[in-house]
Symmetry: C2
Subunit: 337 residues, 2 copies
């Protein structure tokens, strides 16, 4: 039997912790025999939750942590002070090699800071980006970076392109993934100082499939697989997905309730519509990996339910079994030589 992939899960992070987190962990080990989950959190509450389920006891281990980091806490301070928090202890399990990966629905800031400070960067990686999958008409694309790395430099963006390509090719199975740079026009000479400097660097990168600039309008259409941008812009793109999507769905629902005729129609279209829109739901893709660290750090939505926790844990198996970090190391080193 192959060695199990070991995942440290922050049992106390997120709006639905620990109930949904524990449930998701149980579902993950029941779905795959390749994984062992370390549930980090208040021993008593976690065990109470675990007692509700049937699962292979060898695949789940509880690690006690007496503190919890709240979403509103300043990240650096929280990481430094709360040494016995579930978030910090789970990250240390990756740092010391007990686990291969970490999953949390808790504080994004603390996860990003902790990922860098505790788990640490792969040698050569300048900045580890947070890279969520976003839905497109053709499937999904990797938006890299959405993290805390604002005011990025062009060399960072080149590394994002390389790391994103590795992820899309080996985790998502897209051969020779198309890499595009977010810009305000398609032409090479468009844009601000950062993208003007980055464009020729990406164009001359031999080991990625750079297809040029992409306007934000064409991202949801699925014209590229790896969407490269600095974190401020990435954050705006991700949140416009949520904002426009949410408002439009609300409008569609309200529109269907305006007359008796439309109400009957709504009743008839509802099941089909639900199915189609599910494919365009940001939350279906599980967590966003923070790439370029000595281990895998996955941040899932604060509102995650069991299914997202399960998917995030299962995603760690492919990542580890495909030796993504080894491949990232190779690509980054190639750049240096």
């Amino acid at each position: 039997m192959a060695e199990l992939v070991k995942v440290a899960v922050d049992a106390m992070g997120g709006d639905n912790a620990p109930v949904e987190i524990v449930k998701g962990a149980v579902e993950a080990v029941n779905e795959s025999s390749h994984v062992k989950v370390f549930l980090v959190g208040g021993e008593e509450v976690v065990n109470t939750e675990l007692a509700k389920y049937t699962y292979n006891k060898e695949q789940i281990e509880v690690v006690n942590a007496s503190e919890v980091i709240a979403t509103a806490e300043p990240p650096v301070m929280a990481i430094r002070k709360k040494k016995d928090s579930s978030l910090v202890k789970a990250l240390y399990l990756v740092k010391d090699g007990t686990c291969d990966a970490y999953v949390s629905a808790g504080s994004t800031g603390a996860t990003l800071v902790g990922g860098q400070l505790i788990v640490g960067r792969i040698r050569g990686v300048e900045r580890p980006p947070l890279a969520p999958l976003i839905p497109t008409e053709k499937g999904c694309a990797l938006l890299i970076d959405c993290g805390a790395n604002v005011d990025a430099r062009s060399s960072h963006l080149v590394q994002f392109a390389k790391m994103g390509s590795v992820y899309m090719e080996h985790v998502m199975g897209i051969k020779n993934p198309k890499v595009a740079l977010v810009n305000i026009g398609a032409e090479e000479d468009k844009g601000n100082a950062l993208v003007k400097e980055t464009y020729p660097l990406l164009k001359n990168c031999p080991d990625i499939n750079f297809v040029g600039n992409i306007e934000a309008r064409d991202i949801p259409a699925g014209n590229a697989d790896v969407i490269v941008c600095e974190a401020f812009v990435g954050n705006v793109i991700l949140k416009m997905y949520e904002g426009v999507g949410g408002t439009l769905i609300k409008k569609v629902k309200a529109g269907m309730m305006t007359s008796l005729r439309s109400k009957i129609g709504a009743f008839l279209v509802k099941p089909a519509l639900k199915e189609t829109l599910k494919a365009f739901d940001l939350e279906q893709y599980g967590g966003a990996p923070m790439l370029g660290l000595n281990g895998l750090v996955v941040k899932t939505h604060g509102s995650s339910k069991a299914v997202e926790i399960k998917n995030s844990i299962l995603q760690c198996i492919t990542f580890t079994e495909q030796s993504i970090n080894e491949k990232i190391k190779e690509k980054i080193t190639m750049e240096e030589s």
Copy 2:
């Protein structure tokens, strides 16, 4: 009788020129006796189009222009070389005081460059922003800046906030409009160097109603009336509206066609849905004003039909009658003192 508001319209600009542009001009003068339109373009083709309609001949004048600037042409070069183009001649009508305002569905780049080079900035205005109205759940908001001013400084953003406030209060009739700064978090200390520097400046601005940071997610919900950002981010926001909106509507339509049951439902909900979604259509609001110039420059969508041209022309009446530029001058000067 009050003096007429005079609007120079680029009859040759946009995908549907000159047919829809001329039609829109006729519709505008037939709707309002307060406006005179100067249609700038090929005399012959414009007159042929005009011959199709009945309207008050004193309200439309044709100004011949033998050249046309294409969307793909490099803006600065086009403005310099094509002195007899409809776009350049129409801008000169504003420059020399013949007209109060300019409307074009033609090249955005050439309009932005021409607005600055030909019409010129109001004394004190550092950069004239392009500020489209975007739909929200509560009505609409002004997104300022979406123009060509990438790599903006904090002093520019403060001026955008002031000019946007004047526009929303006096053109859109929103009392004490709420001004928000686009950021990646709600807290004051979040963001990149530009927004961190801009936040305290806006906070200490006595003559605007600054409500703090806004995350992109909350823009479509209508949490603020004036959305301040630099042009790169503004462009991404505007185009994510188009991209996510377009893809979602496509998904909704496809979802409704998946079964016989849903097809019948679709037939029933269609009229109600169409009505509701119209209120969320970017194009309904007419053109985007370029603020801070010695005259009003309005850029409408390249795909504009007659109705948008008409709305853009009528928008110029309110702008001129409300002396928006005088009010902008006052607010900008106040800053300097």
